[in-house]
């Protein structure tokens, strides 16, 4: 398996602020990689370093086998970028921008351009300033998706799209995935990441806090179990890794750390199980846990 993006120990400071503090990120060729993190955690800064727009202060970064700063121009022929905040030229129409960006990337697939305009329901004749936020994003998306490139770097590309267009976007990315293109998708929409991504990296305060496939990450989280037992549950409360236990006669409901499921289930079957529902952890829970850490951390910081 080859690596499309490989970043390790990346550091970037802006004056006093340390935007990236030893960030690691590995994206394998052909995968859709989710890049998650709260606002201001350094996602956009990382992407801008990968595009050679910013110069890293420390660490190493390699993109498609090249140096993102030194080889910027030649690398850019193989990638397409959709910024989070698309800003268009007020006096250029959307169609003109799509054509321009496509030509600068070395050519557009005409058939795909037409098809994408239809699917995203975008009027290419409007001028830059008359587009809404969502429509500006569509312009950038169509330009990127219709280009013949190996790597797509998308920085929160759907933050302005409505649910219908969100579905179209997911379909398009799945198609790109099927064609073997690599996608780095920075996102806030967890359902989107769960639906599309092979692997995710979660970053916080300029560092990578979790990285792996979704199932690997789920391993780190808790499964919710509710069960009706043959008798009164014994010994559950004494088990490690069981949280938020509610007992109502023979009915129980609790959360369990995913790696301890085996031991806990054995305990239940000893009593006898009449019915059992298990809810797998969502990415959202995982994400919220890291947010909560941060909130708690801030409180500690404020108290000091």
């Amino acid at each position: 398996m080859t690596t499309a993006i490989s970043v390790s120990g990346l550091v970037k400071t802006f004056g006093q602020t340390r935007a990236l503090d030893g960030l690691d990120l590995t994206v394998h060729t052909g995968e859709v990689h989710g890049f998650l993190g709260p606002n201001g955690s350094g996602k956009t800064t990382t992407i801008r370093i990968l595009l050679g727009l910013l110069r890293a202060d420390g660490g190493t970064a390699s993109l498609l086998g090249g140096d993102p700063w030194r080889d910027a121009t030649s690398l850019h022929r193989h990638l397409a970028y959709v910024p989070g905040d698309v800003s268009l030229w007020p006096n250029l129409s959307g169609g003109e921008v799509i054509d321009l960006l496509g030509r600068l990337r070395g050519g557009l697939d005409e058939k795909r351009r037409k098809e994408l305009l239809d699917r995203f329901d975008l009027d290419p004749r409007k001028k830059g300033r008359s587009y809404s936020k969502g429509n500006k994003q569509k312009v950038a998306l169509v330009a990127a998706l219709a280009s013949d490139v190996e790597l797509l770097i998308l920085d929160e590309p759907t933050s302005g799209l409505d649910p219908l267009m969100e579905t179209v976007f997911q379909d398009c990315i799945s198609e790109e995935h099927a064609r073997g293109r690599t996608v780095l998708l920075s996102s806030h929409i967890l359902a989107e990441v769960e639906a599309l991504c092979d692997r995710v990296s979660i970053i916080r305060l300029g560092r990578t806090v979790e990285t792996g496939t979704l199932s690997e990450l789920r391993h780190l989280t808790r499964t919710t179990i509710s069960a009706e037992l043959a008798g009164t549950p014994d010994g559950l409360s004494t088990l490690d890794h069981v949280h938020d236990l509610h007992v109502d006669g023979t009915k129980v409901r609790f959360d369990v750390d995913s790696h301890a499921l085996d031991a806990v289930l054995r305990q239940l079957t000893q009593v006898g199980v009449r019915s059992l529902t298990s809810t797998p952890p969502t990415l959202e829970e995982l994400f919220l846990r890291h947010y909560a850490d941060e909130l708690a951390g801030e409180k500690v910081g404020a108290a000091r």
Binding site: L53, W89, E96
Partner: protein, 529 residues
């Protein structure tokens, strides 16, 4: 009255945002006429000087630019003629840009939506913009009058002149308020209102320089002169301006509720669904972004060249027999004859205007950067140098085109007047093109700041302002030559009237090359954004 709720807060917000720029424009336009009033006594000390000046002032080609003359035998009458119209134009421009900035520009950027969702009435933003611009015009007018009184001129004429200038500001405040209702974009709104100002100037220019005097009465700028400060004031003309202002401003308030927020009354035009073949690289894009401004400047310089070329030969009449004025002109422009000196100072003016354009075209890169429009471009196969080159083509070649256009038309119309086109065009053109190294050096200073200190890129305007002030007022103030030499324009040979000397042009060009290299290297090394 609920439609006006919040106006007070918006006025305060506008004043807070403009707290630096508006006072500067007020003081500048209030002070300039009074300094002129002081100069009159010095330039035209004797009744004979003044009589010959008054006779020369009847020249139609001069009236085209400065307006009609009424009484040039007093300091007040001369000041009103020489500065009244010009100040009215400047104050009107400030009023236009102020109204647009606080009305259409706020809607255009979406900020008004945020404000509009709070407790703010429908008419509040428009009312606030109009109040601030009208207040600016009146304060400037009154201060101008007070400065004139301070310079020892009579109070009646001073207020006639000040309020005349203010009345033009009021009229164009109202015009800009209407323009802001018509179009979706602040740029277009400014364009429409400025075009109206241009039409007003043209109407009175034709009226004042021909027998069709009534045309001048159709123009709000004409009214400002027809108040006749220091020449038997006609106060009722102020009423005309005021009535017109109220009528036009009311129209803006009637139009406002007939459109949605963010929309204009004129339908937004659709663009092309496909990019033309020319729009396939950075240069094609730079052309799309810069062409409107370049074409506007070219037309402007060609017109200024043509107008001043046509009055050049009559320049002796304008300054009268005043030896002092001739001395100063000679010092500023050259020695071999007043007309050559005048033509040379015009080419000097073109050099400075070209530098203003060069800086503006170059700083476009910075505004593209801060608007985040350059990132998607640099994320394609376009390298930083190629992108910079596409805009520098305008900063460097555009300035050359402007000097050629201005010089050509200046030489042409002057040549036609004196019957020597084949002689005048090359010599004036040579003078204009000789300005190029100075204009280029200023442009390359913009690149240095853009590349090395991007946050302070706009400081190049301050540098340019210092150069311009040194060139305009330095010789009159008889400053030390070493200080005058700080301005690159001071090293350009005055042509026509002097020989072309290559040395200063060569080292100015050399400095330009060094500055360009430094700026481009800096830009290649730095972070974008």
């Amino acid at each position: 009255m609920t439609a006006l709720v919040g106006t007070r807060h918006l006025v305060r917000l506008a004043l807070r945002r403009d707290r630096i720029i508006l006072p500067i424009w007020t003081i500048l336009f209030a002070v300039i006429p009074s300094s002129g009033a002081r100069a009159y006594e010095q330039f035209y000390p004797t009744p004979a000087d003044r009589a010959s000046l008054a006779a020369g002032g009847k020249n139609p080609s001069v009236n085209l630019v400065y307006g009609p003359t009424f009484d040039l035998t007093t300091a007040g009458g001369w000041t009103a003629w020489r500065y009244g119209l010009l100040m009215a134009v400047f104050v009107s421009l400030v009023a236009i840009f102020t109204v647009t900035r606080h009305t259409r520009a706020e809607e255009d950027t979406g900020r008004l939506e945020l404000i509009g969702s709070t407790v703010v009435g429908r008419y509040a933003a428009l009312t606030a913009g109009v109040l601030v611009a009208a207040g600016y015009s009146l304060v400037t007018g009154v201060l101008l009058a007070l400065m004139l009184i301070g310079a020892g001129l009579g109070a009646g004429g001073a207020f006639a002149l000040g309020l005349g200038v203010a009345s033009a500001g009021l009229v164009f405040t109202a015009v800009a308020a209407v323009a802001a209702q018509l179009t979706e974009y602040s740029r277009t709104a400014n364009g429409i209102a400025s075009a109206a100002l241009g039409v007003a100037f043209l109407l009175r220019a034709v009226g004042d320089s021909s027998s069709a005097t009534w045309l001048s009465w159709l123009s709000p700028l004409g009214w400002a002169t027809h108040i006749r400060p220091y020449a038997g004031e006609r106060w009722w003309v102020l009423g005309l301006a005021l009535a017109f202002t109220v009528a036009v401003a009311s129209a803006a308030f009637v139009l406002l509720p007939r459109r949605d927020i963010g929309a204009g009354l004129l339908p937004a035009r659709l663009g092309s669904p496909r990019a033309p073949a020319a729009l396939s690289g950075p240069l094609g894009l730079a052309w799309r972004l810069q062409r409107g401004s370049l074409i506007g400047w070219l037309i402007g310089l060609a017109l200024v060249g043509a107008v001043f070329g046509s009055i050049a030969n009559g320049i002796g009449d304008v300054v009268g027999d005043s030896q002092q004025v001739r001395d100063i002109l000679a010092r500023m422009g050259g020695v071999s004859g007043l007309v050559d000196a005048f033509l040379a100072s015009m080419t000097g003016l073109f050099g400075m205007l070209a530098a203003v354009y060069g800086v503006q075209a170059t700083l476009r890169m910075r505004s593209e950067e801060t608007a985040f429009r350059v990132e998607p471009l640099l994320a394609t196969g376009v390298g930083r140098l190629r992108w910079t080159a596409s805009h520098l083509a305008f900063g460097l070649l555009g300035t050359a085109a402007l000097l050629l256009a201005g010089g050509f038309f200046l030489g042409l119309t002057h040549g036609l007047r004196v019957g020597d086109v084949s002689g005048q065009v090359p010599s004036v053109l040579e003078g204009a093109v000789a300005q190029l190294p100075a204009a280029w050096l200023v442009t390359s200073l913009a690149i240095v700041l853009f590349g090395l200190l991007p946050r302070f890129a706009t400081a190049v305007w301050a540098l340019l302002a210092v150069f311009l002030l040194l060139s305009w007022f330095g010789p009159v103030m008889q400053l030390n030559q070493a200080i005058l030499d700080l301005s690159p324009f001071a090293h350009i040979p005055r042509i026509p009237g002097h020989e072309l000397t290559a040395t200063p042009l060569l080292w100015l060009t050399g400095l330009t090359a060094v500055a360009l290299a430094a700026g481009l290297t800096g830009f290649r090394q730095r972070d974008i954004g």
